[in-house]
Symmetry: C2
Subunit: 457 residues, 2 copies
Amino acid sequence: MEEIKEIINTIDELLETHNYSGIKNLLKDFEPADLSLVLEEFPKKIGTLFRLLPKDLAAECFVEMESDNQERLLSSFTDKELKEVMDEIYIDDTVDIIEEMPANVVKRILNNSDPETRKVINEILKYPDDSAGSLMTTEYVSLDADITVEDALKRIRRTGVDKETIYTCYVTKPDRTLLGYVTAKKLLLSSEDMIIADIMETSVIFVHTHEDKEVVAKEMSKYDLLALPVVDAEERLVGIITVDDAIDVIEEEATEDIEKMAAIIPSDKPYLNTNPFEIWKNRMPWLILLMLSATFTSQIITSFEEKLATCLVLNAFIPMIMGSGGNAGGQTSVTIIRGLALEEITMGDIFKILFKELRVSLLCGITLGAATFVKMMLIDRLLLGNLAVDVKIALVVSFTLLVTIIVAKLVGCMLPVLAKRLGFDPAVMASPFITTIVDVLSLLIYFGISTAFVLNI
Amino acid sequence: MEEIKEIINTIDELLETHNYSGIKNLLKDFEPADLSLVLEEFPKKIGTLFRLLPKDLAAECFVEMESDNQERLLSSFTDKELKEVMDEIYIDDTVDIIEEMPANVVKRILNNSDPETRKVINEILKYPDDSAGSLMTTEYVSLDADITVEDALKRIRRTGVDKETIYTCYVTKPDRTLLGYVTAKKLLLSSEDMIIADIMETSVIFVHTHEDKEVVAKEMSKYDLLALPVVDAEERLVGIITVDDAIDVIEEEATEDIEKMAAIIPSDKPYLNTNPFEIWKNRMPWLILLMLSATFTSQIITSFEEKLATCLVLNAFIPMIMGSGGNAGGQTSVTIIRGLALEEITMGDIFKILFKELRVSLLCGITLGAATFVKMMLIDRLLLGNLAVDVKIALVVSFTLLVTIIVAKLVGCMLPVLAKRLGFDPAVMASPFITTIVDVLSLLIYFGISTAFVLNI
């Protein structure tokens, strides 16, 4: 980061003195990911700087940019420049870019592609946004089963330069049915006269074009794959997904789950590029829903108003009880949600989970109850001099806390599993949702216990 | 999953009829990751089943197992069997296994390794648990700069079988100083008489042994690397980290952040394998801390007790105000925390963030305030017949909500950035922590506004 800031200052100086060859020299050894960050600091000069880059670096850097800068650059390109950049980049990246561009830019890109590429792009564009099909590239190495290792290596040498990976080669029938795969490692370590059919792996892990990209990422992570083949309904190979795209999906999916857990409607746009109105739209629905559901707590408090008035000290501990219940329930629900997402927990584990959480909640409830009792007697009564807090009140609050923690943790582990069973996303069953339910339950517990032990009406 | 259940049933039947060759045939084509799941369903027969596997599959399957099953198997192994398994697996996996085993098992593993391997294992074990050094493998391909492509390919053919990856080869001086790298793709696509020094990439991204593994994963994700070289203090190559390990780190780090955000002390043990006492230890500290901090809310409510008694209806809306404030603040803090973790947001963006959140919170506050006003008049007053809720009370609650949302969102965006600046992990500044602060602030706002407009003392 520090380094990038320095470079930006240097470029600023070089730009002022119109020392373009100096800039050219400075930029040529950069990693594309860093270069895009540098160029994006010069929105007005981005076209000038971009044209100073060697062709292949320019294309790689273009892929790494935010879509608004890509659009800005594309509209400044001549048709020739546009074609040069687009010819350099892999087809899955082209599709990613097209998906973010307005219609007129898309049209220009397609008009400047050769008919074959245009056809492929249009094919990929048809797949739903979250599917394996939309993630794949069609630039893979395919081999016939009956050729030798020597021929296979020759084929790789001839066609490999444009392929996104040559490290996993797919063995197909003439109709593109997938027969197996062979890694470049295997090819290099086998003797040259071996036949591909004899050295290929025939148990291939693959996905269908319509498979969810989250499943794609999970499979690649589980089986440590560098590439995953994608087949159509007739099980013919149509593309591959490479591990770098799977990593992006893993990060996106984690972000999405985190957002859902925080009562936000997920968006795949970076925060700083999202305008306040869009952020508002993603945050408002849950805020309104949770506000409305608090009608229950209001109603409960209102109906206990008269009783509460006779022992107002009880009132002071409502936020603590609700807060602790919400935190305890949130801890459990988030643990279960993440376990389900990583497939460390399955539906069959529900009784194991319940039994475990029962024991954990007993331990937590007893500890927290005891700590609260001590805290109320020492801090609230002795230190802060609130004499309305006596042993009876402290016992009622502590016991309420014990029961609330147990209930909160059981609710916290049941709801995500239940959501999953009903086909909802468990991630929405996180803290905010659990908190709202636990708020209601903890109030009922509190007033129930209070009525039994201290309120006499 | 369904498929695995079927296999388990079949194995059960085959075991009953002692049809071991049937089991052998059934298991031999499995993926190691699936096979480990299958074998772990037979804790008592795991040794028997394991011995039916072909050697290389057995070793790969062993790596995928949970540590308690690995320990069970290791103690059932003869020294010869142990050596056979350990010889098959990569050294970074050996180290991972050793880190989870009790001392006597570690001793047996080391005693059955050849001196060279033992030395390497001991070296790697010295690196801290979260460092690049502990994650790396020493099984990489290194090349001299002055050899030809032909010689390089020969070297790969000769030594490649035991290397974790051959797809990135590292060019080093005789003292192991890193000079550059060359990919297998480049080697295959270059003519055989080229000299490595002329085709290698000299701008290498590398990390030091002590670098945090989170940084390792970020670099690999950012630059789309299949392998990342690790160097010591003298910048000599000591190992490489492969992309499959980086993916594991990315998933672990996301889990860790999610746990921290839910007020849990992170643990890298899967939930189902963690005993209730350990879970209790990870969940208790924050529960106690947050409970204690609720002393502030109790105190505030206590000190307003008399005023509240004159207008008890206000009491009923405290949970809703606190809840909405907590949710609104949590939304913002979680967004910022994730943005910081993915480096989409940096410290320099603080004013941009503040301005954005100010606008978002105004939008959210006005919407939620208006919705609450309507809801109180329609639901609480008209539908539920709570006549104590009048226009004045509804206005006070709605206005409190507006101010609370603004304050909550500003606190929610400031605290994670502040935590980062002070060198703390921003992830702990998530919902539970923010909620506790917002609880206090929202009460002060509520009682302040109430005092000004409806309470007359």
